[in-house]
């Protein structure tokens, strides 16, 4: 699968289901890439997957695509490692039955040879089959993650609540859908969210649910906060410190909510957890801040407007994920469990 086919598949996935998260589309594309890959070794497989993820971030430079790709790579490593270990165990148990104490050196040589053979083509096809099955299951599980998040979050929306949200987030939309389905009466303020006016898209979608919605200017967040009961935003990425990376304007909203003592809730699926630890706005890598075409064409990035910002964990009250309701300090725990 070469670069154009990869990009075309990714774009088709995004077009087919506009409701799907971009990370899920990326993982689907990588899984298709895995199926068609004709590599001979696991190391080669990992290298080509890294190359494929880079191609995809060239199309859509958001944090979510990058985190989805990294998660898939981690999934490959874990599966292949498990497979190698079980194979090594078989080899050891097989050898143990027919060797005596003096053959210990022979045992080690055979074991080493066995491990190396695990990386060769005979076992690779078995390994790949396991990866494909697990990949299918993984995709099934994460497709249910939005429903889980909605189930957890809608109880925090009380009858008669006034909610403030930022820009267009499909997870927030799902949560509000669930709350509306539970016959709760609430009204929503959405920020316009320039430069792409994504907030208007959100307002349209909410209007279809018969939820009273008002679009406000990005600059009016402080003005509107005294009327609001709670703030709910989505996230493009959740970083190790428990903070989030989201559309520009989120940090401002979080600061204002803290000043007004309003709860600031974040809803995000677990595949958005990413291994970054920014200490301030500058620490967020440039490749996430700007759109992919901007990165390719523009020479001087300091003249461009960033599309995302970083909200530190001290401003976030709670995070709703498919792993449960988490306080920001619990996020790094989850990431450690996965990556170490």
């Amino acid at each position: 699968m070469n670069e154009e086919e990869l990009v075309e598949y990714f774009r088709t996935q995004m077009r087919k289901d506009p409701d799907m998260a971009s990370a899920v589309a990326a993982i689907r594309t990588l899984r298709e890439f895995l199926k068609r890959d004709k590599g001979e070794t696991i190391l080669g497989l990992r290298e080509s997957l890294t190359w494929a993820t880079d191609c995809l971030t060239g199309v859509d430079s958001s944090v979510a695509v990058s985190s989805g790709g990294e998660l898939f790579l981690r999934f490959i490593s874990l599966t292949s490692l498990e497979h190698q270990v079980t194979d090594a165990r078989h080899i050891v148990s097989g050898l143990h039955t027919g060797t005596d104490n003096s053959g210990l050196q022979r045992l080690w040589c055979t074991l080493a040879a066995g491990l190396i053979s695990c990386c060769l083509s005979q076992d690779l096809s078995r390994c790949k089959k396991v990866m494909e099955e697990r990949g299918e299951l993984f995709l099934e599980k994460i497709s249910m993650s939005r429903a889980k998040v909605a189930k957890l979050c809608h109880t925090f929306i009380k009858d008669g609540a006034k909610i403030l949200t930022h820009s267009y987030s499909r997870v927030v939309l799902r949560v509000l859908e669930k709350a509306a389905a539970e016959k709760k009466r609430f009204s929503v303020y959405v920020t316009e969210s320039q430069p792409d006016a994504a907030g208007r898209q959100m307002a349209e979608a909410l209007g279809k649910l018969n939820v009273p919605v008002t679009v406000v200017l990005d600059a009016a967040v402080g003005y509107v906060l005294e009327k609001v009961d709670l703030v709910i935003v989505g996230a493009e990425g959740v970083v190790e410190s428990g903070g989030i990376i989201n559309k520009i304007g989120t940090y401002q909203m979080a600061l204002c909510s803290k000043a007004h003592n309003k709860p600031f809730y974040v809803v995000a699926e677990s595949f958005k957890f990413v291994r970054l630890y920014p200490l301030n706005q500058q620490d967020v890598p440039d490749k996430f801040k700007y759109k992919a075409d901007t990165l390719k064409t523009v020479q001087n990035l300091s003249d461009e407007h960033p599309m995302i910002d970083y909200t530190p964990p001290s401003l976030i009250t709670l995070l709703f994920t498919d792993l449960g309701v988490l306080t920001p300090s619990a996020v790094s725990d989850e990431l450690i469990k996965l990556y170490l």
């Binding site: 998660l71 599966t79 697990r134 925090f156 792993l323 306080t327 619990a330 469990k337």
Partner: protein, 355 residues
């Protein structure tokens, strides 16, 4: 017939417990402490395990859940009952996993790691029958009961690390845990305690009497004087009714005022709470969070003329957000409020959060 006798005996005990719970919430001050409630609940669950008819772990969990729902419905504000039921359910899950021989199933929580590596979507259905399961579960419940009995002592043992000589400590209302904590420190240190009386039930008076009998210099103040006196206080040590999943508290009314005053003066706020008070609830459920009792404590019925013209409320609990709390001291040691999520995952299984 002996079988039928045991069953009626069991259901009688459960009924007696339920009516006790209902009466205990009548509002004339807590008639029983949380520790006794926890112990009685666990003893009752042990009896249910021993006497009820069940063949697999799944059946037992269903029975316990059913009884648990009845018990929590009898007195929703008494969260220790629900907590103990969830602990027992977790014990059953662990014993089942151990009997099945699942090696490292210690981490039964959802995690990214599990998401990536698990082999199937199949759920555990706990249908397998294991003969020694009953004995194992009962033994584990006995261990839980031993732990419950030692909680107040374990907390009191840590007193000397936190209370120093010539300090002024403030507390509110009456908490048996804090009482034991202060009395233990008083054996070796000399310090002064200021007790806020905590109107309208004025449990602070009993606390002050009890502390002064132990030889501690005590002062009683009204709730309105908390802010005024706070500048002279070194530490605030309080008990609580429940510790919520976000690290916040549901404590006796007046505690939020105390916490805000402490924050303003940068005085550390220490909460003495045993592990059985940790509850997986979040403070969003308005209808079950607050409890209102008869307002005659606030404005007696003799003031009929005024009563007809005003609305009088007498709430029992206060919510204290986690930002105002410095340290939690529990029977397993001291923790920061941001660590509560970890303790929660060790004590309860996420599927049991909703009984």
């Amino acid at each position: 017939m002996p079988g039928a006798d045991k069953e009626t005996d069991l259901s009688e005990r459960i009924e007696a417990f339920l009516s006790d719970l209902k009466r205990g919430g009548s509002g004339t001050g807590p008639l029983r402490g949380s520790a006794e409630t926890a112990r009685e609940t666990t003893a009752l669950l042990r009896r249910v395990t021993a006497q009820a008819r069940w063949s697999s772990a799944g059946d037992l969990m269903e029975i316990i859940r059913k009884e648990g729902r009845r018990m929590t419905a009898a007195q929703p504000s008494e969260t220790t009952v629900g907590n103990m039921i969830r602990r027992v359910l977790k014990i059953i899950r662990e014993e089942y996993a151990r009997s099945r021989g699942s090696s490292e199933e210690t981490d039964q929580q959802e995690s990214l790691h599990k998401l990536l590596t698990s082999g199937g979507l199949s759920e555990e259905n706990f249908r397998q029958h294991f003969a020694p399961l009953k004995a194992n579960v009962i033994e584990a419940i006995n261990e839980l009961l031993t732990e419950l009995e030692g909680t107040t002592d374990n907390i009191a043992m840590q007193a000397l690390e936190h209370i120093h000589s010539n300090e002024v400590i403030m507390t509110i209302g009456r908490s048996r845990t804090v009482e034991a904590f202060l009395k233990d420190a008083a054996r070796k240190r000399k310090f002064h305690v200021i007790v806020a009386e905590c109107a309208p039930f004025c449990q602070g008076h009993e606390m002050a009497t009890s502390l002064s009998k132990a030889g501690i210099e005590t002062t009683v103040i009204t709730d309105a004087a908390i802010f005024a006196v706070m500048s002279r206080v070194n530490k605030v040590i309080i008990g609580t009714q429940t510790v919520l999943a976000n690290g916040g508290l549901r404590a006796v009314n007046g505690t939020h005022t105390l916490a805000l005053a402490a924050k303003h003066h940068s005085t550390p706020l220490i909460v003495c709470a045993p592990m059985f008070k940790l509850s997986p609830q979040f403070p969003n459920e308005e209808d079950t969070f607050h409890k209102f009792v008869s307002p005659h404590e606030v404005l007696p019925f003799t003031e009929g003329e005024i009563l007809s013209k005003v609305n009088v409320h007498c709430p029992v609990f206060d919510y204290v957000p986690p930002e105002l709390i410095t340290l939690f001291i529990s029977n397993i040691g001291g923790h920061a409020p941001s660590y509560i999520y970890r303790l929660m995952s060790e004590l309860y299984h996420p599927e049991d959060h909703e009984l």
